[in-house]
Symmetry: D3
Subunit: 227 residues, 6 copies
Amino acid sequence: MYELGVVHRTITRTPAHLADALARFGSATVHEAMGRVGLLKPSMRPIYGGAQVSGTAVTVLLHPGDNWMMHVVAEQIRPGDVVVAALSAECSDGFFGDLLATSFQARGARALVIDAGVRDVKALTEMRFPVWSKAISAKGTIKATLGSVNIPVVCAGALVHPGDVIVADDDGVVCVPRAMAEPTLDAATKREANEGEKRAKLAAGVLGLDMYGMREPLAKAGLRYVD
Amino acid sequence: MYELGVVHRTITRTPAHLADALARFGSATVHEAMGRVGLLKPSMRPIYGGAQVSGTAVTVLLHPGDNWMMHVVAEQIRPGDVVVAALSAECSDGFFGDLLATSFQARGARALVIDAGVRDVKALTEMRFPVWSKAISAKGTIKATLGSVNIPVVCAGALVHPGDVIVADDDGVVCVPRAMAEPTLDAATKREANEGEKRAKLAAGVLGLDMYGMREPLAKAGLRYVD
Amino acid sequence: MYELGVVHRTITRTPAHLADALARFGSATVHEAMGRVGLLKPSMRPIYGGAQVSGTAVTVLLHPGDNWMMHVVAEQIRPGDVVVAALSAECSDGFFGDLLATSFQARGARALVIDAGVRDVKALTEMRFPVWSKAISAKGTIKATLGSVNIPVVCAGALVHPGDVIVADDDGVVCVPRAMAEPTLDAATKREANEGEKRAKLAAGVLGLDMYGMREPLAKAGLRYVD
Amino acid sequence: MYELGVVHRTITRTPAHLADALARFGSATVHEAMGRVGLLKPSMRPIYGGAQVSGTAVTVLLHPGDNWMMHVVAEQIRPGDVVVAALSAECSDGFFGDLLATSFQARGARALVIDAGVRDVKALTEMRFPVWSKAISAKGTIKATLGSVNIPVVCAGALVHPGDVIVADDDGVVCVPRAMAEPTLDAATKREANEGEKRAKLAAGVLGLDMYGMREPLAKAGLRYVD
Amino acid sequence: MYELGVVHRTITRTPAHLADALARFGSATVHEAMGRVGLLKPSMRPIYGGAQVSGTAVTVLLHPGDNWMMHVVAEQIRPGDVVVAALSAECSDGFFGDLLATSFQARGARALVIDAGVRDVKALTEMRFPVWSKAISAKGTIKATLGSVNIPVVCAGALVHPGDVIVADDDGVVCVPRAMAEPTLDAATKREANEGEKRAKLAAGVLGLDMYGMREPLAKAGLRYVD
Amino acid sequence: MYELGVVHRTITRTPAHLADALARFGSATVHEAMGRVGLLKPSMRPIYGGAQVSGTAVTVLLHPGDNWMMHVVAEQIRPGDVVVAALSAECSDGFFGDLLATSFQARGARALVIDAGVRDVKALTEMRFPVWSKAISAKGTIKATLGSVNIPVVCAGALVHPGDVIVADDDGVVCVPRAMAEPTLDAATKREANEGEKRAKLAAGVLGLDMYGMREPLAKAGLRYVD
């Protein structure tokens, strides 16, 4: 359940060296390294292609059609943060545009992840302020109702605590809990280490069937080849 | 993030006198009494009409297409529980049918809330074992992958901790956190107290405009009447 | 575009003998009789089966998450009316429950058609107050923003003017413009006149192919039979 | 690819003793007995609850908004058939109502399965003519374009050949290819044989964990119990 | 209700100096300037990014799967128009491709807004003929049924009269009624006037909380800060 | 019904001169040339714009959340093939990424068409390996269950046999059965032949109404012009 009308000013962020290092692996590798949990729904899409970021989550809970708390969360942003905006009920309105993005960027935010809509996407693209959202909508919002800032939120089906690491790219958005950042970074690094070698082999025509030793387990499972 | 492969046998259930008392208010009143939070998505629908229950949550995290953990959670059910099944990714398969329902009912479960599909709905209806799900599907599942039991889960967009109270009826499903059960019960009781009186007035033709004193604020907001 | 903050008290209703007479034909026949226009989207579903009504539209424009105007429209209801509630943007919240239904019923409303959600469906069913909606949701709404009453609205994709006839049953909801009510009633009556005869023939095993003289046009269109 | 404008009058139906015998197992058991293939999408829902049928498929390919071929397929129906209607593109119009149902029923059809909409559902329910469809819509159709009858069709994602067995109930719709009818019936019979015994044990409180011998494989997979 | 089979040749277009001037504000600002009404559903998306247009609406009502009237509307286009195509029922077929676009462009059309699908999007992109649609589909249509041209239509949930102004960009599509064009232009101009100043302040790190004087109303609403 | 656990090594591919020649016409023209059948659902979208390919289908049936068979199908790829991946039930997981794409590309595959999700889309875009899918998701899959290779499959609503031709571009994906490849190529060539002439006329301002001789049939159908 959500605590309403509260702004937590003090949160424990994942150390920057961990939060920053996860960006280059991308959401797919980080998701694997986490054991396939923590992914936001695939309905969360980037407003422009090619952005790849990681950062520490500051969270905000919004109500449908009301973006008042977006101004409140702006003050809590520190350089390196990613704002994660959850909704108390489904809504596709445009909660965020170029003015808020200017403010967020000035405060050092790296991106916005929002389970609703945004607008001014042309300007946001020119500013290179990346947003992952479930909708784009010209429909604006009012400023009338209190939500909360820096409470745990459920965003696009995933639980996000303030200070967790967010990793986002063209494949989607993953949340890495603070306590998992270091082991996830280790696991991601290991996963990636031998990817180059694998890629070279596959490019040379070696089959995954052989490289991964799959022929025997497939045969055991009963796979039959027919000419 | 989810802890995988773990069964928590000891959970702190909301006291039965609180958990049981919430049923009669229904999900809409309880949701109001909570301050309009805690509702699962409206895509969660009952498989038959008219059921209205409350109980303490035992939770299970499932993977798409795999219902192995449903058998594990069965053992953790105590009389008065409602099983809440979350999925690590979207899936509409039928994870639950009449055999599992027989087992759940024998253990004392009052209902199942599952963010996926169920089957044997004719038999479940005859057994009067209520289920709230997002789909009905004849497609069965395998038993191959570990999830977890009695960890906090996100089910249909809502965060549910083991031991929280679940209230479900034809209008939907609400989760009341354990710490909120008592104040919510108080608030719901108060809400309901004067509903009878209001209903009588409205049935007699009194308008909400007058009963709630809305004419002045509407006029202040600028409402104009035109003939 | 919508005129906001206005209540039109005077509307020209379709005469009752026309509005009332359309109910028994049902939405499918009326839709045919209109030339296949005027149907609301099939996402509009009855909250319980078997209701079949017609009546004159009083309209209300609501904003997402705000049902204040439902109390305003209540005062404008006359016996024989059907309230048609449109939204300025998509929303599935529960805008209407048993208290409002008590008030609507007391004022003489026959039904509610709403392009959003409703709640207390068990009570509404027991009261036999029929509602066609696109969702059922326990989530309540606030009372903060002005919409309008008795302006033309777009509800579930169809344009509805105050005073038009609404016909609704298990198949859906149709809007018959006031000026079309009489010719539609005539056309529906004619359509139905020979349905009984057709049904008897078809029940006796006569094929539509023969009864409607379709064999020749099918052959001309190139239909080939293969053994 | 579809052959257009052709009616195949001669099809090889699954023998009636097989087609008829599958009904009582229901779609879930039959789907399991088939090895979890052949299921139509769960968006296919019955227009009323409780119907459970099986029969031999006669197929028809329709174009969006055009039900001309429904009259053509009527002539090809034999007692014990289930009409399976596929669409060449997505459409939710009402292709079928009480007149066609009267004709289908007179010809001996047991049900209609259609990947589109139907109407007159109140009358169809009273006639007890079961339909599984993806929509209900008052919107009628024209009669202008040729499709085909008794060609293989893709209906709601499943491939159906004329003469295959269709099994449908509250859980959904399964297609059993003619060649698979006998082994599927055998497998379904075996599945069901020990269900009664299992149900009794589970009702007595025996856990699936013990009855199915799951404790060891769960432990091997790494499941940990925590108090 | 729609008048079928009629082409209105004479419509009153919003004066060009108003219709043209709205383009540069974009859909979000225009939507705000209108009082947050007139927006088409956010499912209407541009087939390529970056286009931003305004123009006077010529409307066409189409039936699912039939684009005959697209050729009829072409003749009614004047330079500066935007064609607005509504459907009498939902359809995602490709009603429009590069040949029609060549014709529309030759007649002076600035864009197409269609509540259905289009095709040849690669060619349309190369031609720089912008389209806002709800789908892209290679599926073509027939030419068999009459709709109407230059009647009021409901397109993607919004009511559009011939001669209204359409404003469309990456954020969506707004319809400005003719009578509202001048006041909307004034309001949009005022909104934009102080946006530059605001942007500069926000970029310098000033918070919206201070710039908009939100701290006091937030405190009054009960917002609490916790360390 | 699907045959599970089988790999057909020998398939009859459409001759390369036919399969290759269809690419330049694109999916819309090929779909028309086929008589408007064979199109996969419009939910199948390219992961990047501008790709236009044709090739011979090698098919694979996958189970939700399991991409084991993707490695098995890789071995069956020959230069000029397009892999068509169908699912036994709906799933949006990311079944395919840059490593598999490297392998597919090394084997000579021209594209992947998959009725599920893919990931590593940034890398796939840089590699210029085109994919048409219904989703993008960072969520990976396991390798545990047997599907089949080179059996007939239903992919996004269309029936695809191994060896059929797949044509895909920004407008969507079409399957041309092997036996239809030659007549389809002929029909497409003819369609295209006079398109240049038509385009020139339309660009010069000639109306389709005149060029296609539509005025008379429109008048016969009852079209009225009103000033």
